[in-house]
């Protein structure tokens, strides 16, 4: 069957087997290997991508179900050479070690901050509770997302404007 979707802002159309999982479509057909796979049971969340801005576990979504939708993977987080604050936050606060769960964690964090720019630590923990990290013990992931919340895109410019008006 033929499917079309937007991946990281680019339209793609491909012939696929109807049974192909979105995670395999992204990794094997599109060769975007930043999205990982860690279990078969929707438990670990290493395969999280954003579908129309919402986190989904791409091991439990058929590629065909993404037809007509907009998908964001980790490769679409940065704006050119400028990292998303979430990406910067994970580096600042040591929110990753082996890096395997990191793409999914960062995408969930981006979705969280998009609708809740100033989450409490417990809200962050709830947001990432469908995802497993085996390395970090989560505290530094929470701090990384807090760092991103404190450094939103364009914050520097806004601060300068406020200072000028003051």
């Amino acid at each position: 069957m033929q499917i079309s979707m937007t991946i990281n802002g680019t339209d793609v159309t491909r012939e696929i087997e109807p049974r192909v999982l979105l995670v395999h479509f992204i990794r094997d057909d599109l060769r975007l290997t930043g999205t990982h796979w860690g279990c078969d049971t929707t438990n670990c969340g290493t395969c999280v991508v954003l579908m129309d801005g919402q986190p989904v576990k791409s091991c439990t979504v058929l590629a065909a179900m993404a037809d007509g939708h907009a998908i964001t993977t980790v490769e679409g987080l940065a704006n050119g050479a400028t990292l998303d604050p979430v990406q910067q936050g994970f580096m600042e606060e040591h929110g990753l070690q082996c890096g395997f769960c990191t793409p999914g964690m960062m995408l969930t964090a981006r979705a969280l901050l998009d609708h809740n720019p100033h989450p409490e630590p417990l809200e962050i923990r709830e947001a990432i509770s469908g995802q497993i990290c085996r390395c970090t013990g989560y505290a530094t992931i929470v701090r990384s997302i807090q760092w991103a919340a404190e450094h939103p895109v364009g914050a520097t410019a806004e601060t300068t404007d406020e200072e000028v008006h003051a």
Partner: protein
């Protein structure tokens, strides 16, 4: 969050936004990971690459009657189906394990655990390979399994390893340490003796990335390139040469980015070998990546120790002796990975942090119809089991003596002046100063206030528990005279080259699985040579690019490879002195070192930086006799002893009296790993290990039913903590350098996994004290805690 300020190990750090040597700095590997540009085994695609999948046994113990692969071979996308008899013809049906046993690569005679490898399909894509598994017809003659290790040695128990010549039972080994007669005498004269059976159930490392390989055999020049999820690429290369007959110089093992290891990626699994065979048979590269159930059901598990503990003391709380008999369930093949002389790993560090008059342990290993393994999951070669035993026994003794568990520990610690401390089972603890570490953890926790709160809550019927664990580890295996794996000495190499412009590359033999080696090892060189870590590339994970060494596990990277890197940097620094002297037309002994520069004693304005010396070395400077025209060096480091990190952990739990649910409210961890290279990375290692500990104590369990079916074969059943099950960790530290390590560092990667389970269980048992509970085994699930509250504690196996 309490994070004490790091000691000023790096005075230069204050002048820069990043350190010149030791100190907190962002990781050099992070930019690629946050962009999704990590490069893991499953990301590798080679031209013409095929995909492999393994058919696994559905039962635990069965004679293989027949395999029919006709239909699978007829699948249009299938190129090969390999069975045990095919391998037998090649002499590859059995492979040596890391414990001098053999393990079936594919079943030829008998299935010995559920999930064992039966056949291997090679197909054009991963879906077709899986489809073809369904088309293989296998007939089994099911046999009664041995599931309970306690019954493995019963007369008449089915003999699992009838493949071994003359084998009539399921016994693997007996091992002991310490002096039995002295220990028995101490116990006979003690005021108080308490005994307890303590079970450390089977758990699994379950890294987020499962195991996998891409094998690429070139039939023209007979060269094998093997991309593998391995923590020990060099050891794997040697073993592959021994098993396959491919000469070692024709084998290149590449371990790219690894998505977590925790000991799961030390052994050589049948899947790796099958990928190689598949590539040889088809003439094309073959990728094999296991799924999560395969990972949990067939790869190296951890623990599975049934321990009979006994502790002896005077009535005023002086601990005199400790003894234990352990029954170790090693599964169907003895495939544990530890130094040859030590079949129970380093379990004999079970004397812990206490000054004992005597100690003795025996360990008996048995076969069962379960997956092989046993030394994994950040266990520091069974130090995990040892620490759990002693720290539970000390708590049980405290209860018996009606003493505070912190007070009992403080009373019995080895004193700082006793180091180096020879314990009663043959270790020499390198350094320690336990009381300040314990006191700091109590201060951070507000220990006395917590006890007051607990008293008030108990009066109201609320269940609050406070658990303490004080651990001492032995990590950094190990001295070649004592330690080898399959005859390979446990040393590690390092090579350092300073390029003409003063930029450096250091090549190491250990393999990061997330520990941040590219950062830490650059920092070690930076500290010694005085050039920024950004100017130093760390090369690892490719046997063609790096010196030989045994790899990363057992917290050995910093103690062994870190020492090698410090020493190779010092070797380069010393060579630089001679070259600088030639450049300055003075004598080497007239030069003095400051970070990054040799200068003339008494005239600091006259000197040469490392970059200038590097250019001189590669340039036209007239070099002294015996000095080559480069600024390179190499070393292989044989550690004189292991390192002995320690720490004090305090866990606070609340137990729901209605459901038995345990909530970890606080966790305070004070660690001492000697010199701290990068405090940020150390804290990350501790946090991760604490989460493992909470997982094992409360949730994680690979359980089997009476037929030998694995009940923990997916993340639906094998529960791992999420962000909701763990608290915000409170960490602190003390610094007691190792006297024999070049920079005073000790291993830290497994400290928290080792040290935290007893703190959690001690807290749960403390919370249940009003019910008269003296001990309960892990995992402290709501159901098991609730049963304990009803007076029905039971072992998990």
């Amino acid at each position: 969050m309490t994070i004490l300020e790091d000691r000023p190990s790096n005075p230069a750090a204050g002048d820069h936004d990043r350190p010149v040597g030791h100190g907190r700095m962002q990781r050099k590997e992070d930019p690629r990971f946050v962009r999704g540009k990590g490069h893991y085994v499953d990301d590798i695609v080679l031209p013409g690459m095929l995909h492999g999948a393994i058919l696994r046994a559905p039962v635990a113990h069965a004679r293989l009657v027949s395999i029919d692969t006709t239909e699978a071979l007829a699948h249009p996308k299938v190129l090969a189906v390999i069975t045990g008899s095919d391998l037998q013809a090649l002499g590859l049906a059995w492979a040596p394990t890391l414990s001098m046993d053999v393990q079936a690569v594919l079943v030829t005679d008998k299935v010995r655990f559920q999930g064992q490898e039966v056949a291997f399909v090679v197909a054009e894509d991963r879906y077709a390979a899986r489809d073809a598994l369904e088309l293989i017809q296998v007939e089994y003659d099911v046999l009664p399994p041995v599931v309970d290790a306690r019954k493995a040695m019963d007369p008449g128990a089915p003999v699992i390893r009838d493949d071994l010549e003359g084998r009539t039972n399921n016994h693997i080994f007996d091992w002991e340490a310490g002096n039995k007669a002295e220990t028995d005498a101490v116990f006979a004269s003690a005021d108080v003796v308490v005994t307890q059976e303590i079970v450390y159930p089977r758990v699994h490392p379950a890294p987020m990335e499962t195991c996998g390989a891409v094998a690429d055999f070139d039939p023209i020049d007979g060269r094998l390139t093997l991309y593998e999820t391995t923590q020990a690429p060099h050891a794997h290369r040697t073993l592959f040469a021994m098993v396959s007959g491919i000469p070692e110089h024709k084998i290149r093992v590449v371990s790219p980015d690894i998505g977590g290891g925790f000991g799961n990626k030390v052994g050589i699994y049948p899947g790796y070998i099958l990928a190689v065979v598949g590539s040889i048979v088809t003439g094309k590269p073959v990728k094999w990546v296991e799924d999560r159930s395969e990972n949990l059901m067939s790869t190296s598990f951890a623990r599975d120790y049934i321990m009979q503990g006994e502790i002896a003391a005077t009535k005023d709380g002086k601990i005199l002796g400790l003894r234990t008999n352990v029954l170790a369930d090693h599964g169907a093949f003895n495939a544990t990975a530890q130094p040859t002389k030590y079949p129970a790993g380093f379990f004999h560090i079970f004397t812990g942090s206490y000054d004992l008059a005597a100690a003795h342990c025996t360990v008996t290993g048995v076969y069962t119809n379960k997956a092989p393994g046993g030394v994994a999951y950040a266990c520091s070669f069974r130090v995990t089991e040892a620490v759990y035993l002693v720290e539970r026994m000390v708590d049980i003794l405290a209860r018996k003596l009606e003493m505070d568990p912190a007070e009992l520990r403080l009373k019995n610690f080895i004193k700082p002046e006793q180091f180096p401390y020879p314990n009663k089972t043959g270790w020499e603890y390198d350094s320690g100063d336990y009381e300040p570490t314990m006191r700091l953890s109590m201060k951070m926790a507000g220990y006395d206030e917590l006890r007051r709160e607990q008293k008030e809550k108990r009066e109201r019927g609320e269940l609050m528990g406070i658990g303490i664990s004080f651990f001492t580890e032995t990590v950094g295996a190990g001295p070649r005279k004592d330690m080898d794996i399959l005859g390979l000495g446990m040393a590690d190499g390092a090579e350092l080259r300073i390029h003409p412009t003063g930029k450096a590359v250091v090549r190491i033999s250990v393999q990061s699985q997330g520990q941040g080696h590219e950062t830490t090892f650059a920092q070690i060189v930076a500290e010694e040579i005085g050039i920024p870590p950004e100017d130093i590339d760390v090369v690892h994970g490719d046997t063609d690019q790096t010196p030989f060494g045994l790899g990363t596990y057992g917290s050995r990277s910093t103690p062994v490879s870190g020492a090698a890197v410090a020493l190779v940097a010092r070797k380069v620094r010393e060579k630089a002195r001679f070259i600088a002297a030639a450049m300055l037309e003075t004598r080497p002994e007239d030069l003095e070192w400051e970070k990054g520069r040799w200068f003339v004693k008494g005239d600091p304005s006259v000197g040469k930086t490392i970059a200038e010396i590097a250019m001189g070395a590669h340039g036209t400077v007239a070099l002294p006799e015996g000095i080559d025209g480069n600024l390179d060096a190499e070393v292989t480091y044989d550690p004189p002893n292991l390192t002995f990190p320690f720490g004090a952990y305090i866990c606070v739990v609340d137990v729901d009296p209605g459901t038995g649910h345990v909530k970890v409210r606080r966790f305070i961890a004070v660690d001492d790993c000697g010199t701290r290279i990068n405090p940020m990375i150390i804290e990350g290692q501790i946090h991760g290990g604490l989460t493992d500990g909470v997982g094992m104590a409360l949730m994680e369990f690979i359980e089997f039913d009476a037929e030998g079916n694995c009940l923990g074969g997916s993340f639906m059943d094998y529960l791992i903590p999420t962000a909701m099950e763990v608290p915000d960790w409170e960490t602190g530290f003390t610094v007691t350098p190792s006297p024999h390590h070049p920079i005073g560092a000790k291993g830290v990667g497994e400290s928290a996994t080792v040290g935290s389970p007893p703190a959690v269980v001690n807290a749960v048992v403390d919370a249940l004290a009003p019910f008269g509970v003296v001990h309960m085994d892990m995992p402290c699930t709501p159901a098991r805690v609730w049963e304990a509250m009803q007076g029905r504690t039971r072992p998990p196996v």
